[in-house]
Structure formats: C-alpha cells, structure tokens
Amino acid sequence: MDYLTIIQILDSALRLATPLLLTCLAGLFSERAGVVDIGLEGKLLAAAFLAGAAAAVTGSIWIGLLAGIAGSLAFSMLHGLASITFKGDQLISGVALNFLAAGLTVVIGQSWFQLGGRTPSLSGNGRFEGWDLPFADAMAKIPVIGPAYDELISGHTTLTYLALLAVPLSWWVLYRSRFGLRLRAVGENPSAVDTAGISVVKLRYAALVIAGVLCGLAGTYLASLAAGFVKDMSAGRGYIALAALIFAKWRPWYALWATLLFGLLEAIGNRYQSIALGDFVIPVQFMQALPYILTVIILAGFVGKAIPPRASGQSYVKER
C-alpha cells in the first residue's frame, strides 16, 4: 500500500465520517439534555428525502438543505411532543420515528416522483461541490504534504468543513457557555435546574432543535453525496452515530475521533472487498459488522466504562 492510497483512504474516511459526525453531535446535544435519541436514523432519512426532493425540484441544494432541516426539525419536535410534553417513553418514540421515516419517505416519494421511492438524480447546483482550498493545485506537486493537502484537506464540500467546525463549537457551547452548563445539568439532575427557576422543558426542546438542525445537515449531505435520495439510504448510520456517541462517552472531541474511526472502517471496507491475512481472508461482512461489534465491546465496558448522562431516558415530572 503506497502513500497515495493511504491518503485516498483517509480522504474517503473523512467523506464518510461527515454525516456520522453531524448525527453524532445531534445525539450528543439531545442526550446531554436527558433525551435519548434512537430516532436519529429516522431524522437522517427524513432530511435526506426532503433535501433530495427539494433539490431535485428546484435545482438548488441550498433550498434542499432548508427542506432537509425542516423535515428533521419536524421529527425532532414530534419526539419532543411525545417524550417531553406527554412524558412518553423516549425509546419507543424514537423507534416509532424511525419507522415513520422509513415508511413515509417511500410512500410520499412514490407519489411525488413515481420512481419506486427514489428522487430524481441531482446534478450541477443540485449538489454540494467540493471546495478547492487556496494553492491546492500548486501545492499538489510538493512531495508528501502536497498530496495530503490536495487530496485529504482540500476538495471537500461545505458541510464537511462545517461538521469539523461544529466540533470545537459544540465543545465551547457545552463547556463554556451558560446555556451549555444548564443543558448538561438538565441531563444530570433536572430537578436542580428546575429549582433554580430554569425551565426543564424549554431546555430539552432547545436541545432537540439543535439535534434536528444537525441531523438535517447530515441528511442533506447524504442526499448530495449520493446525488439523490434512495430508499433506506441512511442504512443504519443513525445507529452507528449512536454507537459513536457511546464510544465518545458523550464528549464532542471524542465524537470526532469515534466517527473518524467508523468512517475509516467503512472506507477500508469499501476499498477492499476482502482482506487477506496470510491464508485467512476476512470476509466483507465482517468489515461491515465491525462498527457494531466494536460498539458492543465498548458497551461491555472492556475499553473503559461509558456512563451516560444520569437523567437520560427519564421524562421530568415536577414535584407538587
């Protein structure tokens, strides 16, 4: 394996990690506020569909982005209605949202476009284009760092850079702002927050709004990357992001590394259909299952214990 191949694999890892990272951060905000979000998968799918549909009709991915965020937000608010306002089971609500997205995107997609649940393919302004960072062409000729700069760092879409920026931003919001402090508190000890005169309900809804926007970005990215929406295109990414979130122990910087790792696994799996170790060939299915296997091992606490926010999964009932 030569240097350029490694660079290319890393480049594709970054590409594949982008939606995971955005979704993972979405889950981070929601779970840090005490709302477990199994429904990430559904939000991702709903956003991808609406983004794909809007971009196909209008020819602009930016309008697609708005539609994707709107769809994801609607799902987020439904989750809030069920699990915050009506104090329902957050897990059940999330599961319902995932099925709702899986069903509605196909039923509506077929009704709108008659393509068996796909949207028409996107081209030109209907997709995000890669950004060539300054001097990318000129630097490409420099050995070692040139190709790395040209292939790996330059040439990604707006959303990839946005996702990377979202990491320090999330860190700052969560750990350096008053809002973040309250958000984390509401996930650990909501009654304390309530006693301080701050609305638990409002904070949790705010967290779900952030989660909805981030999932909207991630879904739009998927639609743009694949040049259109395809049935079930989120393909478990919402769950992988959830896994990455646990792997990252609900921390923004760790979330970056975790999603990059899962992106790398996917990139390697895509590039090498089977990997031979001497006489033994690792089957492609093993590579596909690896993120899930890793998550189970991490969950089992063999690689350091992952402790979720204490109040996550519980709806807050005011004392009377």
């Binding site: 009506f86 059940i92 599961v95 069903g103 039923v107 068996g116 649940g117 646990i246 969950l299």
Partner: protein, 367 residues
C-alpha cells in the same frame, strides 16, 4: 389512586389510540391523492376475500404472534428487546441446520426438533445482550440493535459462503427434505372436506403460535418465574428485597424472549420457504414491538394485534398491487401505532382520566 375503571384502561385507551393511528394513516393515504375508503376495501378484500388471502393473513399473523410475545416477555421485566429481528434471523439458521442435518421421515419428528433448533439459536443471540445488561450494565436497547446488524452480516456471510448450494446462483440454502414439510391449511382442512387454497403459506406453525400464546399466559400469571419477572419489571429494588436475583431474571426473560423470536422460523423458514433465504424475517421482528405495545403485553391483546397486523401486511401487499400505493404504507401504520399506543399514551390517558374523575365526583354528589 383508582382514577379510571379497569375496562377503560384495558380497552378504551388502546382503542382510541389505534383509532387515532388509523385516522392519521388515512390522512396519509388521502394526502398522496388516493381514496382511503377504496384503500380499506381493497385491503379487506385482499386479506379476507379469498382462502388464499386468509391464508396469507394468518401466515403473517403467526410471525407476529411469535415476535409480539417475544417483545412482551422482555417488556414484563422492563427490558426493551429491539433485537427480535436478529433473533428471528438466527432462529432461521437454527431451523435450517436442524432440517438439513437429517433426512427427516415425517414432520411430526422434524417439527419438535426444528422448534428446539430455532428457539436455541434465537435464545443464544439474545443471551449476549442479556448477559451484558445483567453483568456489565450495557444498555440492552443499544446492544440488541447492534446484534441485529451483526446477525444480518453473519447470515449474509453464511448464506454466500457456507450454506449456499455449490454452483447455484441464488444466495439461499439447499431445500429442506420432503419429510420436513409442514402441512399447510389446505392439507390440514382437506380431511374435513373444506377446500382451502393449496399454495398459500399458512401452516401448522399457526397452531404452535396459539399454543405459545397460552403458555405465555401461564408463564407470566400462573408461575413463580412469571411473578418474579413481573415483580422485577415493576420495581427492581422491591424485587431485590424480596430475594429475587436481578441478573437471573434479566437473563432468563431475555432467553425466553429470544427463544420465542427464534421460534418464528418454523413458520417463515420451515413452513413457507422450506429453505433459508436472504432477509427471510422481513421486518417481523420490528412489528413485534408494535404488536406487543398494542396488545398491552397481554396474550389475548397480542393475538388480536398480530391478526390485525397480519391483515395490514396482506392487505398492504394487495394495495401495492391494485392501487399502486407502496407496501411501505404498512410501515407508516406500524409507526403510527407504536407512536400512539406507546409514546403518546399520556396524550389519550390524561384527558380521559380527568373525564372519569369528573364523572366520579358527579356520582358522589348524586349519592
């Protein structure tokens, strides 16, 4: 505490929730420019209009009884088993291995053996998440989701590399021997002089499902183990003080749950396909969640909910054929049922409770 009469809690609330779910499903049909009334007629005609339709309805219902019971057993212990899909997949593997291992002379011998195979493999697939939950505190919802994906990958590998018939283009196992064929409804009913569609899939497994429903009721409400499971589900601390070992209950409840999900394979793999095919479970594991929620984790409720979803599944297939509404409409209905009967339960319950409290006050005044 008794704000509501028991019948309202057991019947009225689920009924209103389901009506709400159906109302919104109708809204979806209307929104895509189709007529909900025509859609319902098509579905009823397709599911009950012919013996073939009835057979498919019962066949799907059989799957959902198994997976619904599976979710319900775990739920009585306050464990949310989303892994029914994977457990049913592995159950299919167990049934396949048993059916292909011996040239079975007669189904009466093959069925019990296949049941053991399916239940064992399903239970084994539930064991790891159960053990991790009991001993390491890993959240069962996440681990069972992960095990669905791991199971799908494992089966994908086995089907393409191990079980596939050499030289065949199809990713499926060899056909089961003739002796492992389960009688279908046409063969069962023929001696009684009843004509039933000969090629439709409902089979002997339906009666096994009914038996399991009855055994479920005995287990949960008439045995010591069932009592312990329910006690643990109601309050872990109280159960601990009563001398119930939490790890033991978690693991046993999940083993039974996985076993029931695995048993589904005697219907779809042994009864219908008679070989292991790719994606044999077709989402039945997930529908079990809706069935259990709708049926309030009670065997009679689960039976009725499974029949309803059997109807929706078969009717949905007809809908896509005649009305060109995609089959995924059933997934939408399933989602709405889970949403309204599960997560939005309080939305229906709170106003009803107020209503009953108000009614109760009036009565007292009159007296």
């Amino acid at each position: 505490m008794n704000k509501m009469p028991k019948w309202a809690d057991a019947v009225l609330i689920p009924l209103i929730s389901i009506l709400l779910a159906f109302f919104f499903s109708g809204l979806v049909i209307w929104a895509i420019g189709k007529d909900p009334v025509v859609a319902i007629k098509t579905m009823v005609q397709g599911a009950f209009g012919s013996t073939s339709g009835i057979s498919y309805t019962l066949y799907y219902a059989t799957n959902f009884i198994f997976t619904g019971l599976a979710v319900a057993v775990a739920y009585h212990a306050r464990l949310f088993n989303i892994g029914g899909e994977g457990q049913a997949m592995l159950g299919g593997l167990g049934v396949t291995l048993v059916c292909l291992a011996v040239p079975w002379p007669h189904w009466t011998l093959a069925l019990p053996a296949a049941m053991i195979g399916g239940a064992l493999f399903g239970a084994a697939w539930a064991f790891i998440p159960a053990w991790l939950q009991a001993k390491r505190g890993s959240h069962i919802v996440i681990t069972t989701i992960m095990f669905n994906y791991i199971g799908a990958a494992l089966l994908g590998y086995l089907l393409t590399k191990v079980l596939k018939v050499p030289g065949s283009m199809l990713t499926e196992s060899a056909r089961f021997p003739e002796g492992a064929h389960l009688p279908n409804f046409s063969e069962i009913l023929a001696p009684f002089g009843i004509n039933f569609s000969p090629n439709a899939p409902a089979n002997m497994a339906f009666f096994v499902a009914l038996l399991c429903t009855f055994l479920f009721w005995i287990l949960i409400w008439k045995t010591r183990l069932g009592y312990e499971i329910r006690a643990y589900g109601q309050s872990e601390t109280a159960a601990k003080y009563a001398g119930i070992n939490p790890s033991r209950i978690v693991i046993i409840a999940m083993l039974i749950s996985g076993g029931l999900a695995g048993l589904m394979a005697i219907n779809n793999v042994m009864g219908e396909a008679e070989r292991l095919i790719d994606n044999a479970v077709e989402g039945a594991g997930f529908i079990g969640i809706a069935v259990a929620l709708m049926g309030r984790n009670h065997p009679i409720g689960i039976l009725l909910a499974a029949l309803l979803f059997g109807f929706l599944y078969q009717g949905g297939a007809e809908l896509s054929f005649w009305e060109s509404i995609p089959r995924e409409l059933v997934v939408v209905i399933q989602a709405l049922v889970i949403m309204f009967t599960g997560a939005l339960d309080n939305m229906v319950r709170m106003p009803l409770e107020k209503l009953f409290v108000a009614l109760g006050k009036n009565k007292k005044k009159e007296a």
